[in-house]
């Protein structure tokens, strides 16, 4: 492909220019700042920049003093025919017209794709590093030996700025080194982040394991505590039952003993009480009898004396009566011989009294005058009385009456005495004195019996009262009843244990108490274990979270390390493969080009596939001479000493041309050279021009220079 014409509008200092180029070697000549670089940039922009780009570096190429963007138009010749390329950065459009397209391409991307693919421009990086030869890169060989290797690598591999692959490898290596510091040391002094995180993860892992173990231990202790507590509670319940049973059995036994004693006491008291009661009844009878006999006892002896006296008096009276009887008999005998006495109620007095009575009645009933008739009656009565009164004084009747009266009185007195004696006896319940005498004896006996009973009762009461005994008896009975009731309590039901059973129960309780003590100790140990554990679930969670976070950070760093390592390895491999392929082709072609450039002095070039360091075989020396690229100060010193800067420039020119052959074996793009031969001697410059002429044949070489040295060789000379 070649450029026939190029038109520029508003592009840098070439504001509105049109240039015509010819096939072969085109020399664009002009002084500094005449626009050579601008024209070169215009060609590159036309080839590779998209009109719709926002790249300020591209857009900044517009002419000064205008806001309008630039337009570029190129007429091209390709194997398929002529083409017209137009890129309007103001309108952001691109057009490509030509027979190979069949029609106009107006899409920016389609135009760019056609340029780079169909027309073989490949891409700007590759083009710029091979087909585009900036002068300063040749000059750089002189100025910066340290960058030679990188520059050559850039030239060969097309990575834009110098040494990017190597720089990338260096940057990645440094990043990997920083991440990996201390990874393989036992105790690194300043560990890198991964080592620090691994140590942190290990430490946290251990801490977490210990905390989990502690928590597990605490949980185990808690479970043990739970089990011990449960068993202890069950045991305590069982113990409580057994203790209760034993206590009830003891209470029952005690109650039974108390009941037995209470029964005995009650029975004893009952016996005494019955005895006393019986004695009291006997004494009551005895006392009653004594009481009954008390008059006899008290009055009996006196009465007996009195009765004797009465009997004696009665006897005396009876004797008196007997004497009076004898007197009476004498009086009767005298009376029998004396006249009878006139009585008071003689017929006269009786008639007088009747008359009085009749007069009184008649006075009341008939007439009060009748009462006067009473007077005769009264007189008769008086008369009768006087007559009787005046009768003779020896009154045998009276005598007899008196005698009889005395007899009677004596008899009466005797009878009275006897009656009194009888009454006395009767009063004392006796009929006879003998009976009285007997009863007096009986009364004495009754009194004696009462005393005996009293003494016996006193003996039974033991200085107590009967009431007290009765109260005691009732109390004993109540107490016993209470004991019976308590024994009958349902709580005590089934608590009858034999002493052997009680002993067995005591042993069971002792064993349970021993076990309970063990469990309480276990519970205390568990509590101590929980306290000793000193961690809770949240602390473990926090540790787990810290570990997880550290693991995440570690994972991120390790991932980053893996990413860097992958990138580094891939870049290293790509670089190695690229260089290997390049050097396989590059080395012989480079030798073919270098021989004419050096007048046949150097024709064999070796290229290190790893470093791209070149060695030129010197027939004169019989050894390889380093070109001055590659690593190592010694190599550079050797190169500086053994090869001129011009020769090294020729090596690099040969290398670039060899790369062009390598990359564009068929369709070669125009080669853009920015005065690369300034360090060549005239002979080798001519040789170089001859080689460039060869490359221009069938294609196009555009050489930008401020020198006249190329004028004669130029197929077209453009003066700026």
């Amino acid at each position: 492909m070649r450029i026939n014409t190029i038109e520029l509008e508003n592009f840098g200092c070439l504001r509105d220019q049109r240039f015509e180029l010819s096939p072969g070697l085109n020399v664009v000549k002009g002084p500094n700042e005449a626009g050579k670089s601008t024209l070169q940039a215009a060609i590159l922009t036309a080839f590779f920049a998209k009109p719709d780009t926002s790249d300020q570096e591209v857009l900044a190429r517009r002419s000064w003093g205008t806001e309008e963007r630039f337009r570029l138009r190129l007429d091209l010749t390709t194997p398929e025919g002529p083409l017209r390329l137009e890129k309007d950065f103001q309108a952001r459009t691109a057009r490509l017209e030509g027979p190979t397209q069949g029609a106009v391409l107006a899409d920016v991307n389609a135009v760019q794709a056609a340029l780079e693919t169909d027309l073989g421009l490949r891409g700007q990086p590759l083009f710029q590093s091979t087909a585009c030869f900036p002068q300063e890169q040749i000059a750089n060989i002189e100025r910066g030996r340290d960058q030679i290797a990188a520059l050559l690598e850039q030239q060969v591999t097309g990575t834009g700025d110098a040494g990017r692959a190597e720089e990338a490898l260096r940057d990645l290596g440094e990043a990997i080194r920083k991440l990996s510091v201390g990874l393989h040391d036992t105790e690194p002094k300043r560990p890198g982040p991964i080592r620090r995180l691994r140590d942190e993860v290990a430490h946290l892992g251990q801490e977490l394991a210990e905390a989990e173990a502690s928590l597990g231990s605490a949980e185990g202790a808690r479970q043990s505590l739970g089990l011990a507590t449960s068993e202890a509670e069950a045991l305590q319940r069982d113990l409580a039952v057994k203790r209760s049973l034993l206590e009830k059995a003891r209470q029952r036994a005690e109650l039974e003993r108390d009941l037995s004693e209470a029964t005995e006491r009650r029975d004893a008291l009952a016996h005494r009480f019955e005895q006393v009661d019986q004695l009291r009844k006997q004494r009551e009878q005895a006392a009653q009898r004594a009481q009954q006999m008390s008059r006899i006892a008290e009055d009996g002896p006196g009465a007996l004396t009195r009765i004797a006296e009465l009997e004696a008096a009665a006897k005396e009276r009876e004797d008196e009566a007997d004497r009076e009887q004898e007197e009476l008999q004498l009086a009767e005998e005298a009376e029998a011989s004396a006249p009878p006495p006139i009585p008071i109620f003689n017929p006269i007095t009786i008639v007088g009294l009747v008359l009085v009575a009749l007069a009184a009645v008649g006075g009341f009933l008939v007439h009060s005058a009748i009462w006067a008739g009473a007077l005769p009656g009264l007189a008769l009565t008086l008369w009768g009385l006087v007559k009787a009164q005046n009768a003779p004084k020896v009154d045998y009747v009276q005598l007899k009456a008196e005698a009889a009266k005395r007899i009677h009185a004596a008899q009466q007195a005797a009878q009275q005495n006897r009656a009194n004696a009888t009454a006395l006896l009767a009063d004392l319940g006796c009929k006879t004195a003998r009976e009285l005498q007997q009863k007096i004896g009986e009364a004495h006996e009754a009194w004696q019996k009462d005393r005996q009973l009293r003494d016996r009762i006193r003996g039974l009461l033991h200085d107590e009262t009967h009431r007290k005994l009765e109260a005691d008896f009732k109390q004993a009975r109540l107490e016993r009843q209470d004991l019976e009731d308590r024994l009958a309590d349902p709580e005590l039901e089934g608590t009858e244990l034999s002493p052997e059973q009680q002993e067995a129960l005591r042993q069971e309780i002792a064993r349970a108490e021993s076990r309970l003590a063990e469990l309480q100790q276990q519970a205390q140990d568990s509590r101590d274990g929980i306290v000793r554990a000193g961690v809770d679930p949240e602390q473990v969670s926090a540790l787990r979270e810290r570990l997880s976070a550290a693991q995440e950070r570690l994972q991120a760093h390790e991932r980053r390390l893996a990413v860097y390592t992958s990138a580094r390895d891939a870049i290293a491999q790509a670089r190695g493969e690229t260089l290997r392929q390049a050097t396989d082709v590059l080395a012989p072609r480079l030798g073919e080009l270098l021989a004419p450039l050096t007048g046949g002095r150097y024709s064999r070039v070796g290229v290190d596939e790893r470093t791209l360091a070149m060695d030129v075989w010197s027939e004169q020396k019989g050894d390889s001479i380093p070109v001055g690229v590659g690593s190592g100060a010694r190599r550079q010193r050797m190169a500086q000493a053994e090869m001129s800067s011009g020769t090294r420039g020729q090596v690099f020119l040969a290398a670039r041309l060899a790369l062009v052959d390598l990359i564009w074996p068929d369709q070669r793009p125009p080669l853009l050279l920015d005065d690369p031969l300034v360090s060549f001697d005239p002979q080798r410059r001519q040789a170089a021009i001859a080689i460039l002429k060869q490359y221009a044949r069938g294609g196009q070489v555009i050489l930008f220079t401020c020198s006249d040295a190329y004028d004669s060789a130029a197929d077209s000379l453009i003066q700026l």
């Binding site: 794709a113 780079e116 693919t117 490949r122 891409g123 990086p125 590759l126 591999t157 097309g158 990575t159 834009g160 700025d161 990017r164 692959a165 720089e167 990338a168 940057d171 990645l172 440094e174 990043a175 808690r222 479970q223 739970g226 809770d536 679930p537 949240e538 602390q539 969670s541 926090a542 787990r544 979270e545 810290r546 997880s548 976070a549 995440e552 991120a556 991932r559 980053r560 893996a562 990413v563 860097y564 992958s566 990138a567 891939a570 870049i571 491999q573 790509a574 670089r575 493969e577 690229t578 392929q581 390049a582 390598l662 990359i663």
Partner: protein, 382 residues
């Protein structure tokens, strides 16, 4: 006696170790405590009853200091005049099991105003001074087919029946688990005036028939997908026994998700700027990098995470992006060049890892590709 004001919460999960919070899990636990304290303080603002419908603790045997903290907070309710009663139903996390915090009696000393529904099976707590009877079936296992509303001993007198349940609502499989479940229609048939639900972490109305039923939601999110968390339910039963429920924002943390399509951002700095624009100390941000990244613009998610973590309560940055392999025009990377060979090698490695299903190797190769390309183009990315 009425109206009665009830503060309903659930799923506090005190002591939880939330893996999603990573290094901030400890801070998250402290936040849970602070939020529970706020709940108690809220309950002291004129409420008659605080009900906790399960999972107050994250485990049956929480740390002693957490139990002590809860006891101290609940004790404060009893010191109010009149005391604010509290009822706690064990949930699936702090379930009964013989040795749970509720069965060990560690909250027994709080006071008579605390009602632990910690007996296995349906149970009832009478609060005559409020005219309420509380009902609930505590969880005794992590999973169960038991309907927790079955067999509740309703009051049948003037007292209003209020239920607590820690369960899912709906048909089996509705939420993809087989845990404690209230079947469809059971709420309507329960006869309860109000059913305080727990287990689901988002506030939600599940009333059926005459029964008002709500999930209070967890007071704070426990995972990155719990955007509905952060609330409690303020329940009022008026003198006509009508129930009204109001969502009460109680939590401080909020969860948001953001998807960052790498195609929309030119480089890592732009992504950092985007994330920085969302910065909030109470925000749990689940950020996902996705889409196709440029092969020459590596984005280091780990570095972004490290750089921006402090601007959020928790930044969880997931990198699910891939390199836009299709965007790698081989003409831009000729095979003859190192970069061309490098790109091809890594593309091959990516393709092989993808074919092998090794996502980690794929991602590693993608990052290596991006870093390598950037370095080979002369950009400082390390």
């Amino acid at each position: 006696m009425r109206p009665v004001r009830i503060l309903h919460t659930a799923d506090v999960h005190l002591g939880a170790s939330a893996a999603a919070f990573g290094e901030r899990a400890q801070a998250h636990r402290q936040q849970l405590r602070a939020t529970f304290q706020r709940l108690v303080e809220e309950a002291l603002q004129g409420y008659d009853l605080l009900v906790i419908a399960g999972d107050l603790f994250d485990s049956p045997r929480p740390a002693q200091r957490t139990v002590d903290f809860v006891a101290a907070q609940l004790r404060g309710l009893g010191e109010a005049s009149p005391p604010v009663h509290a009822a706690i139903l064990p949930g699936t996390h702090d379930r009964l099991g013989g040795d749970s915090v509720y069965e060990r009696g560690e909250l027994d000393s709080v006071g008579p105003h605390l009602h632990l529904m910690a007996q296995p099976g349906p149970q009832r707590v009478d609060l005559p001074h409020l005219g309420l009877a509380l009902h609930g079936t505590p969880c005794a296992a992590a999973t169960s087919e038991t309907n927790p509303l079955a067999g509740l001993p309703l009051a049948g007198d003037d007292a209003l029946d209020l239920g607590l349940a820690h369960a899912s609502v709906g048909a089996v499989g509705a939420m993809g688990d087989e845990t404690w479940r209230i079947p469809p229609g059971a709420i309507a048939e329960s006869g309860l005036c109000y059913l305080a639900l727990g287990h689901w972490h988002a506030f939600g109305d599940h009333s059926e028939g005459a029964t008002t039923a709500y999930y209070s939601g967890a007071p704070e999110p426990l995972a990155l997908d719990q955007r509905g968390a952060g609330s409690a339910a303020a329940v009022t039963i008026n003198q006509q026994d009508q129930v009204s429920v109001e969502q009460l924002q109680i939590g401080q943390l909020r969860v948001e998700q953001v998807d960052i399509d790498l195609a929309q951002y030119p480089d890592q700095a732009a992504i950092a700027d985007k994330l920085r624009s969302l910065a909030d100390e109470h925000l749990v941000l689940d950020a996902k990098l996705h889409g196709l990244g440029r092969p020459d613009r590596p984005v280091d998610a780990d570095q972004l995470q490290e750089e921006l973590q402090g601007a959020f309560f928790r930044l969880h940055l997931r990198d699910e992006s891939h390199v836009a392999l299709d965007a790698i025009a081989e003409r831009d990377y000729p095979e003859e060049l190192v970069i061309g060979r490098f790109v091809r090698k890594l593309k091959r490695a990516i393709t092989e890892a993808e074919a092998a299903g090794d996502q980690e190797a794929r991602r590693r190769a993608e990052e290596a590709l991006q870093i390598g390309v950037a370095l080979l183009q002369g950009r400082k990315v390390l």
